[in-house]
Subunit: 185 residues, 2 copies
């Protein structure tokens, strides 16, 4: 499933993908310039030349315009590509290292900016943490498959929780490194 195969992807879907990307781009720019709270959905819609109603058709909430990403499948692939004699913790470590190593400098920079914005704006941070519970479930399933246990197994879920928690604590370190706050409301 290639992300944007222009042959198989009718004009409709291509246009949709394009406006979606445009909206996200303008949103990120406006958030940077005005602050997250001070930027209204109306402004984003106007910048991207769509109507506010269309904005909410693409993104159920204002937060989602920043939060929608595709890191989970990348992590899954990297995890399953790890040698099968590694235990879940070793495999998770290897997966994260290789996933980061495979990103371009540009992607890393964008990720950093996005993460900083997310961790400094309370609403965004809350929504992002909420999303992490899905990732936790995903990690539980990966660990379950690798160990032959059930995803509901207490040890499996504890492992997934610990991984997520450590992940959060790492993001927090980055947050505290730079103190400028983006909310200017």
């Amino acid at each position: 499933m290639p992300p944007d195969d222009k042959r198989t992807m009718g004009l409709r879907e291509r246009k949709k993908a394009k406006t979606m990307a445009a909206v996200q781009m303008h949103a990120l720019r406006l958030f940077r310039e005005l602050g997250y709270n001070a930027t209204t959905v109306e402004q984003i819609a106007e910048a991207a030349e769509i109507s506010p109603s269309t904005f909410f058709r693409y993104f159920p909430t204002k937060e989602d315009v920043l939060l929608k990403d595709n890191y989970d499948p990348v992590l899954v692939d990297a995890f399953e590509a790890q040698p099968s004699d590694l235990n879940p913790l070793q495999a998770m470590r290897g997966a994260m290292v290789s996933a980061i190593a495979n990103m371009s400098a540009d992607e890393l920079a964008t990720m950093r900016e996005r993460n900083q914005l997310i961790m400094t704006v309370p609403e965004l941070r809350a929504a992002a943490l909420n999303n992490l519970t899905q990732t936790m479930q995903l990690i539980a399933e990966l660990a379950a498959k690798r160990t032959g246990r059930e995803p509901d197994d207490a040890a499996v879920r504890t492992f997934a929780g610990a991984v997520i928690g450590v992940n959060i604590s790492m993001r927090n370190i980055r947050m505290r490194t730079s103190l400028n706050c983006w909310t200017k409301r």
Copy 2:
């Protein structure tokens, strides 16, 4: 510092504490009866016989009416009461076990109901997770004190993150046990 010493606590503060408790009680009842989203702040205010503006004076957001609790100081006390030859993980385990053992059946039941409501309503879950980052910082400070390291130490923060993550995963298990959803909107 006794919670409600009627001698030292002038009429003003006593009244404030009473209306605050009343608002929380009515809110929880209405959430149970109507669902979280279907209950408006106006309804809660009317039930508690205050004006909507007063509601927001007590609770900055609708979520806070459910989320405000005092578990952190309890955990701190229990942690610091653990024998000093235990390592942070052992001490944390002992602290949590003793904190739960010291709760009455009523308190436990209320906590369960509250937790279930929180984990099944997305907005509440997001806000609750957000609050957990403060608890994470707290745990980092406790672990730092016990080990003689700094709270910013990578190992200390990783420990705190893992504790929080496992905590989240435990709540999720409870959530999945009962499937009825409180949002009836």
